[in-house]
């Protein structure tokens, strides 16, 4: 089966800026991939190329084997833009109904109710967009992206306007989607969020992929810290499996051990190292 999303050497130039400089990225069927990077790294550009809003200057992207932007590709995606709006005058239910028609979904009222329930907007189905907070609009945006059972969900900073409770709702939603086998590409600033839910993480900086892998593989062991009568020191290169041997060696050498701690880098360390402290 072709991957849900495959980007091959994708490039994008906007006049003088090179937004993407040859990015390869794959989201396999059923995978949840987090895309991290500083502002201006090119995350949104990559997602827009995947959904056909932006034309790449080089390389190609495919959705389930279909060229990105083709009707077949667009029939398989759900997209939530970083900056989006729904018409002020429309009610939540009407927004979803329009998208059902455009997506050719036959889910009807049952699908709309289920989606509103899923994003915690069951009470707001008749509310107009103009009377919704930014957070409610973002949840409605998520429900909209899920209309018509997309194979691949492209979410560009879906929690930027949400409070901690709303973020947890989204996390649970992502876990539910994983159970249903939906593939997801999630752009986010929130490292902890990505670390908690993603199968794989890709980090881009200045338009190039700088790190990629499972969160557990990206966070490298940084040694074991032991506290003895002579103070704290770190045994570099050692991991969790080395800890019992280190302690017994120290004891055998007549030292008194007050504490042992296995050190590993967090995703934040990995991220900061990968992007070189870059921000904008």
């Amino acid at each position: 089966m072709p991957p849900a999303l495959a980007a091959h050497a994708v490039e994008k130039r906007y006049r003088s800026t090179a937004a993407l400089r040859g990015v390869d990225l794959a989201v396999d069927e059923g995978q949840l991939v987090g895309l991290l990077g500083p502002n201006g790294a090119g995350k949104s550009t990559l997602v827009k190329i995947a959904c056909g809003l932006v034309r790449p200057s080089g390389g190609r992207a495919e959705i389930c084997g279909h060229p990105a932007g083709s009707l077949a590709a667009r029939a398989r995606i759900g997209y939530l833009a970083e900056l989006f709006r729904f018409p002020d005058w429309a009610r939540a239910d009407e927004v979803l109904e329009l998208h059902q028609k455009l997506a050719g979904s036959r889910g009807g009222a049952a699908e709309r109710s289920e989606l509103l329930e899923l994003v915690g907007l069951a009470d707001a189905r008749d509310r107009r967009v103009e009377a919704m907070s930014k957070g409610m609009q973002q949840r409605l945006g998520l429900a909209q992206a899920l209309v018509g059972n997309p194979r691949l969900l492209l979410l560009d900073e879906p929690t930027s306007a949400l409070d901690p409770v709303g973020r947890r709702t989204v996390r649970q939603l992502l876990e539910e989607l994983r159970r249903r086998g939906v593939s997801v590409l999630l752009n986010s600033h929130l490292l902890s969020e990505v670390e908690l839910v993603c199968d794989r993480v890709a980090i881009i900086a200045s338009g190039a992929l700088v790190a990629e892998g499972r969160p557990a593989d990206l966070v490298k062991p940084r040694g074991v810290e032991v506290e003895t009568a002579s103070g704290k020191r770190v045994i570099e290169g050692a991991g969790r499996d080395d800890a019992p041997r280190i302690v017994s060696d120290l004891v055998a050498a007549g030292e008194r051990v007050f504490g042992v701690r296995v050190l590993s880098s967090t995703l934040e360390d990995v991220y900061l190292e990968a992007v070189g402290g870059e921000t904008s």
């Binding site: 056909g52 029939a75 900056l83």
Partner: protein
């Protein structure tokens, strides 16, 4: 295709729900009331002249000039509506983030444009047709005068506003909201000026001015349609009355003939081609 229909229905719902429609209806009623009062007063004055020795029927002059004025106002109000409904359809909506959720759906950018065009053009055409018909009835009741042709001028005005909706939609592909609004009204003004130059050219007479007028009216066929509509009011009237009418600002001296219809269709096709091409290339 079904996508285009959905977008058109969506555009209609939007125009009904937004205050634009309400504002347009209030303005139209105000205009019609003013027109009724003005027309009644004008015909009362005219009827005091009694019959004229030079065979200039004053009610023809008054009627066609007044209805010409109403047609100008109708075209103007129709243009305001057409511009309102289309001016931000592509770039403006994209900048506000309204367009992207629709464009990523599997309907195709040409269908989206077609839906927006049909939605706006239908609303404007119906509006202009209604306003023209009511003005015609008011003129008939106030002065007991009817133009030589009653249906054709209405259809021509409707076509003129459809052309303007197309121009505005094309502009929206390339220009942000405010710039597009200004540009379309400048184009509208340019068309009217060209038409007036042509009329001055007829009156002087000056071949150069006539050529400018014709060229402008053909380059901006809403003007040609408007002139054709004015022309039809007195096209079968001869003598001094029609000559006097033609000297006025609503004279519609030019008659473009049946080629105009073909040109209007070709023009709309050119607008569509340019809009589809520009939209296809645009990163959103």
């Amino acid at each position: 295709m079904t996508g285009a229909v959905e977008i058109a229905l969506y555009a209609w719902r939007e125009s009904l729900r937004r205050r634009v429609f309400f504002v347009v209806i209030v303005l139209s009623l105000a205009f019609l009331a003013l027109y009724a009062v003005g027309t009644t007063a004008a015909f009362n004055e005219v009827n005091k002249f009694g019959s004229n020795p030079n065979d200039t029927d004053p009610s023809v002059v008054a009627g066609s000039t007044l209805l010409g004025l109403a047609m100008f106002a109708t075209l103007f109000l129709g243009t305001v509506l057409a511009v309102f409904l289309t001016l931000s359809a592509v770039r403006g909506d994209a900048e506000r983030g309204l367009l992207q959720p629709l464009v990523v759906r599997p309907l195709g950018r040409p269908s989206l444009l077609a839906g927006r065009f049909v939605g706006a053009a239908a609303v404007c055409a119906v509006y202009v047709g209604l306003l023209y018909a009511i003005s015609l009835v008011i003129t008939l009741l106030a002065g007991d005068w009817t133009p030589d042709h009653m249906i054709a001028p209405g259809l021509e005005l409707m076509a003129a506003v459809v052309v303007l909706a197309g121009v505005s939609l094309l502009g929206s592909v390339f220009l942000p909201t405010t710039a597009n609004g200004i540009a379309v009204f400048m184009v509208f003004g340019a068309g009217l000026v060209a038409g007036l130059l042509g009329q001055i050219g007829d009156a002087i007479p000056s071949q150069t001015l006539q050529n400018i007028g014709s060229a402008g009216a053909i380059a901006l066929p809403f003007e040609a349609l408007y002139q054709e509509a004015l022309h039809a009011l007195t096209s079968d009237t001869s003598g001094l009355a029609s000559f006097v009418v033609k000297l006025g600002p609503f004279g519609g001296a030019h008659h473009f003939g049946p080629g105009l219809v073909a040109w209007v269709f070709a023009y709309l096709a050119l607008l569509a081609g340019a809009a589809v091409w520009g939209f296809h290339r645009r990163d959103l």
